[in-house]
Subunit: 98 residues, 2 copies
Amino acid sequence: MAENLYERKALIFKALANPVRLEVLDMLIDGEKCVCEIQEKLKKYQQAHISKSLIKLKEAGFIKDRKEGLNVYYSLKICCLGDFFKCLNNILDSDTSN
Amino acid sequence: MAENLYERKALIFKALANPVRLEVLDMLIDGEKCVCEIQEKLKKYQQAHISKSLIKLKEAGFIKDRKEGLNVYYSLKICCLGDFFKCLNNILDSDTSN
DNA sequence: CTACTATATGCCATAATTGGAATATATCAT
DNA sequence: ATGATATATTCCAATTATGGCATATAGTAG
């Protein structure tokens, strides 16, 4: 585990610092999905890669999983993600001009 | 520049995915600071490293700079950062147990 | 048991990030 | 002009992340 608070926070942002994982999170915003559904939407990536992405998001504390037979269902664990991402859009909308 | 939206968002999170840059951002939350003040607080790191951290945060759109004589002053450019980080604490507080 | 399906794990080459050391630039004072 | 100070840039070795491929595991069906 990371020693100090800033390192722990950085680990959380590292989990978000990847387009595939961000897209996965986005998919989960409208409810629980099984790994197979996520794979279906992200066909450009290998199954193994999706699986690793989900595990990384889980380790960072963003999502949780639930097994049901052969399937594994993932869902958001953090309710404030919506607001979290709204701020992001402010950044994206504002120009990079100083 | 990154092609799609998720890649652009990932770039923003990459800028946050580092303890030094997070600590710098934290220092700027209570107002504009000159590089020298930031260095003073982060003595464990080299001047060059602090400078690079500031530039990365600026490129990501989080902060802006202003020159005054020999000094450069940096300040937050995004007003919603406070809320942004509040959500983080939710994640940090919640256990990693599924 | 075997066969099948869904998901996870291990290995690996490539690419990106980190942070130190040295150097460059810009501004100010004399 | 020279020298001093604040900040930025370049170079580089070490570490870490990315994403493909192959394989393993776990649950289900027959």
